[in-house]
């Protein structure tokens, strides 16, 4: 066991997979210089072609990754910041997501697209996006949202070995968070949620950094005698609907916590799914706790309170229990 940060876990996964399979390579802006901290040492170990600095052209280099994947390579694309994916949306949707299907399985795109979300740090509207929900709407993509170092490593390794395009949204607020990582190799399957805190009164489904806040909330609620179950879906596509539904069957109450925007967000998807399939078990309205449908302001005085924290989550859970 080692106690390492989320970012170190990501770096480990990349290094291990690059060492294991020489078709795996990393590409993105300034990756060789390890500016963001997940590619330290890779240049020395694997050379400049497998740690490939790209010009600033997100749409083009995403296409390059897709083309390389078509001929047998396994690119890991680092967008650094999730907001820059918008430039690559056409390649991600029109090519990465659609190629396997529209060519009738003649090809497939085993590529990983990593993107970090740096909200809550005063970097304003153009750099603070938490945009996984947009890509969940695109069949053919898989969407991964790790909430801790252990998951980050295990899910990234699975993503690299997956034969399909996988988008990994890393919560920048978690990069520095530490956690225990086993010394031996492990992989985490997609579509398997993690019950982070067992409970029986209310189900809290939370995403990425909201998981930690929800666990804190659950601990606070426990002291008040409220037993909250916190579920981390880990992958949003595929989504482990069974674990969520089972929990709701037990608790009768669902709170979904998300740092993304509300409208058409992941929280809404989970809420809708339960309203369809878990309805008869519900004893109270489903509640979404999300960032507001607002762009992200620069001033900390304004951004403060935009993302549900433990106190807000506990409050919402209490309200649900009282319904």
């Amino acid at each position: 066991m080692a106690n390492i940060t989320f970012l170190e876990a990501v770096a480990q996964a990349q290094r291990e997979e690059m060492a294991r399979d020489e078709s795996v390579f990393l590409m993105g802006e300034d990756v060789s210089g390890n500016v963001y901290g997940s590619s330290g040492g890779l240049l020395d170990e694997f050379g400049p072609q497998r740690v490939l600095d790209t010009p600033i052209c997100e749409s083009g280099f995403t296409g390059v990754a897709i083309g390389a994947a078509m001929v047998g390579m396994r690119p890991i694309v680092d967008y650094t910041i999730a907001s820059f994916m918008y430039l690559a949306t056409d390649q991600l949707v029109s090519m990465a997501a659609k190629s396997s299907y529209m060519y009738g399985g003649q090809t497939h795109i085993p590529a990983v697209f990593r993107a970090a979300m740096f909200y809550n740090g005063g970097i304003a509207a153009q750099h603070s996006d938490r945009n996984y929900s947009m890509y969940m709407n695109v069949p053919g993509l898989k969407v991964v949202v790790p909430s801790n170092p252990y998951d980050a490593k295990g899910l990234l390794k699975t993503a690299i070995r997956d034969e399909d395009p996988v988008l990994i949204f890393e919560d920048g607020n978690l990069w520095g968070q530490k956690g225990e990582i086993p010394d031996e190799e492990y992989l985490l399957p997609f579509g398997q949620a993690n019950i982070c805190h067992a409970g029986s009164d209310v189900t809290i489904v939370a995403i990425a950094a909201r998981v930690g806040e929800s666990i804190k909330a659950a601990e606070a609620l426990a002291k008040e005698g409220i037993s909250a179950e916190v579920i981390d879906p880990r992958t949003l596509v595929p989504l482990d609907t069974a674990t969520i539904l089972e929990s709701v069957a037990k608790t009768g109450r669902l709170l979904v916590v998300d740092q993304g925007h509300r409208t058409c967000g992941a929280a809404g998807e989970i809420a809708a799914m339960v309203a369809e399939k878990g309805f008869w078990n519900l004893q109270a309205p489903i509640k979404r706790l999300t960032a507001p449908d607002m762009q992200i302001p620069f001033s900390s005085a304004l951004e403060r309170g935009f993302y549900p924290d433990a106190a807000m989550i506990a409050l919402a859970a209490r309200e649900l229990i009282e319904e």
Binding site: V64, G72, Y103, G104, G105
Partner: protein, 347 residues
Amino acid sequence: MCAAVNFDISVWGGMSVDQSLLLEMYRRMGLVRQFDEAVQKLFNSGRIPGSAHLSIGQEGEVVGACMALREDDYMVGNHRSHGHPIGKGAGVNALMAEILGKSTGVNQGKGGSMHLADFSVGSLGESSIVGSGLPVAVGAALGSQMQGNDRVTLCFFGDGASNQGYFHEAMNMAALWKLPVVFLCENNGYGVTTPNNRAAALEDISARAAGYGTPSSIVDGQQCLEVYDAVTEAVERARRGDGPTLVEAKTYRYHHHSEGPLYDNMTYRSDEELAAWKLRDPLLLFREQLADSVAVADLDRMDEQVKQDIAAALEFAEQSPLPEPEEAYTHLYRTPVVVIEGELSNG
């Protein structure tokens, strides 16, 4: 820079290609032409869903460029791409079946006219999002470079596509990394109804190559051998590891942008212009050029064979079954994801 060369066919034939190659070129040009003529008929009879973009008139550059490739080289097409896989050596049966949406189609009926692809002959697919194939081709070339093989990727794109940001990003990365890719601009003068000179600041797309230090040339797209020569030189450069080349083939599509009545009364181009181009039909020009070195009987025999091949392809396509409805739910992912049937609206 790669200058376009005007061939003396007999000398040239003796130098670097033999008669069988010339005949094969002739055959493929015929196949491309007749394939599209057959598609046109199918479309007019209402047999083809969606749209169909024909390359009748452009066979010279299509085949000239493709034939400069090795069998294991790669090729990327676009929306006007029935001819490209044929040029690359794909069988016409499965292409025709695809166009009719049959289960025996190259894509098992999932792709259709705008997405013909035959990966078995290095045809890496045809994206109909204008320009989006350019970086994908660069990626395939990067893959070859990384794998240490000497495969070259040929990327077809239109004059219209050259105004997409993709063009710039692809050209820059290919030049920067000296990738084995050949960019073949099919400058047929129009994007839908918009003439090239109202979409591109300069009429010659090749003028942009200098900005990346990339060699370029302009060739007569109606002269199959001229294209073949320029692309051969570009392919050699790519294979040597000397990086990309941009070849601009000036050509023309006889048909409107796509089939159907939509363009019937459009005046974006004149009848005279069309007639002038038809005088320089790539098949006619090539037949004339071959006259000295290939027997007319051989050419006629080839024409007949092509006719039969297309007839057989039509027969094959017509006889093939439609895919079963449940096949709509395969191929989205390679590594399976549980799709809960009840969640599908038609489940």
